[in-house]
Symmetry: C2
Subunit: 358 residues, 2 copies
């Protein structure tokens, strides 16, 4: 009996995944050259579908890496000479910040407790910070930062580069890429694919910064997946090294499925399912939403504090073939995390709620 | 009608690939958590199978990256403070060398023309080089460096770290890991999988070097996939970031298939098929082997100079559903490259030879 994965990534595969995979196998996509016209067509198709889905303008390129975590490193190497600035309120925004330190950048941070969120008005970006690193959806705590707040902040600091981690939320957040210079995600979350591909959206401004840094021979922007090499190959829909051709093909197909539904519908469906879950949590005696401020509650990763030990809740759901995520880190015993990605339907969410009620 | 890919990567999928993929889908491997016991078992299984296949001792860990190209960067960041040394005789060994420059290392090189190979006796490693970077199989030119020569060189310079690129040859080369500190490959070559996973074998000596470099705060060993973080998680068969779980599962299964055949048989079969190809090329009026010195002729990527335009040869083979690789770079018009990986049988190689004879 197949299980339904409500885990925040790796997650439930999107329902059309298997048919696209079968087609890819029939067409021998796993064997084609990444220097062939067939591959360039696949890259171009994925690029067009993502561009439509996320309203990405021509000023931004779309690149592929091994994972979204890799992009944390790449964007810091390519866009920061000395200083970065990070909003930190959970384990993943913390890791983004830690990467900056490991790369010997001077990393500033504004920190909030686990479960709390950020609004633009309370944020002062340090004067010399070159890159502002935001996390749209903190996967560990289920906190979101609303795009409107990000846009407001960028308008206040128009000369700084803004990068948004949308790992566990894209395509949900409606980012305005005339303001956001860079964003990235991985495919094993809301796109309903197995892990193994990162997607990096990056503007010409980021490229210019990387090219400027490249002239400084006391500094490195890295050797692999640098913005100048990615862009150079991107102009002909190629990649510097052999990419995950199969997953790029599958991503294009799933993005096309999403476009058929329409991004507005997809976002509405996400919000509707989130509403069902939060409404249940708010009214339940056995659970409560971990994030108190409604505006900071993630629409894609819902975190609940459990009255019973979380392990018990998870085990009971598993017996009913529903896999719920455990709390992150020290919240493992007292929280559950429920992914609300397009791969799970409103009906499946209703079934989960019925299960959690038991 | 399916085509047979004799291309040097991406290449023909290994015949058992599809059944393993089907099983993985049935078991929902694409959705499982990378922090679950199920994943740790998958990593452990792949580790054990690769360890058996390649005779990897306990002194060495086995890590996963997005690609082998990524490992070029990682090994240079983690194992070189100031100076590296590279043997360069083609496009891929050149890229390894170029990565060192991009990372602001002082990179020495000994260069030979495209199509020529290296022997230990002619090599002097510069005094201050910390890492010796060798390419077992230069995919662009079809030149191999025999493991015995690598081992001889390491015995001459026992205090330097030795790293071997086995991208388009592993598991063929019989490396002695009591001498070789690090080696790496990608799965879309001789392992017959789609691209999207790099495998990095690395010794405790490499880890110690990385830990030493980590203390120097004027230097970075990178932030993502550093040896200290990879090793730390490896001790419990985990990874620092979400890896390509599905491909690690598939790699373990294919390595198990290889072990059932036995590495000695696999190597013998590779040599037998290579012998068939070189014998044909040597006796043909329409082709000749590009690599003149027999001891430098690759057993896994056979490069031939064509009398007819290479494009014509490739098109004719394609019409018979056999996909042959084109020559690399400026040799595109005058050469073909034939991959001799385990996924193609002696019978398929014989069919290709019949085709090329026409």
């Amino acid at each position: 009996m197949p299980q339904t994965y409500f885990t925040p990534g790796p997650a439930e595969l999107y329902p059309t995944f298997h048919q696209h995979l079968q087609r890819a196998m029939d067409e021998q996509i796993g064997s084609i050259s990444h220097r062939s016209q067939r591959f360039r067509d696949i890259y171009k198709f994925a690029d067009e579908q993502l561009r439509t889905l996320l309203s990405i303008p021509k000023t931004h390129g779309i690149f592929f890496t091994g994972s979204a975590s890799e992009v944390w490193e790449r964007v810091l190497l390519n866009c920061v000479e000395h200083e970065s600035f990070h909003l930190v309120n959970g384990s993943f925004s913390q890791k983004f910040f830690d990467y900056a330190g490991a790369l010997r950048k001077h990393a500033h941070l504004l920190e909030k407790p686990f479960g709390e969120g950020f609004d633009a008005a309370e944020i002062d970006v340090p004067e010399y910070a070159e890159l502002v690193c935001l996390t749209h959806n903190e996967t560990s705590s289920g906190v979101q930062m609303r795009p409107a707040e990000m846009h407001k902040l960028k308008r206040k600091y128009p000369n700084k580069l803004f990068c948004v981690d949308t790992v566990s939320s894209a395509p949900y957040p409606d980012l305005d890429f005339s303001l956001i210079d860079s964003a990235f995600f991985s495919v094993q979350k809301a796109f309903g694919m197995p892990a193994g591909l990162g997607v990096w959206i990056s503007s010409e401004s980021c490229l210019q910064k990387a090219e400027y840094l490249l002239q400084n021979d006391t500094l490195t922007i890295g050797a692999h997946h640098t913005l100048p090499t990615l862009w150079k190959h991107y102009r002909t829909y190629e990649t510097p090294a052999t990419p995950n051709v199969l997953y790029i093909y599958l991503l294009g197909k799933i993005a096309e499925d999403f476009n058929r539904i329409g991004i507005d519908n997809l976002r509405r469906q996400t919000e509707e399912k989130a509403r069902m879950l939060y409404k249940f949590l708010d009214s339940s005696d056995a659970y409560e939403p971990f994030v108190k401020q409604e505006r900071h509650r993630s629409q894609t990763v819902i975190v609940a504090t459990t009255k019973k030990p979380a392990a018990e809740v998870i085990a009971t759901a598993k017996a009913a073939n529903m896999i719920v995520g455990s709390g992150y880190g020290k919240f493992k015993e007292s929280q559950i995390r429920i992914a609300n990605f397009p791969a799970v339907s409103a009906e499946q969410v209703a079934n989960l709620i019925d299960q959690l009620k038991k």
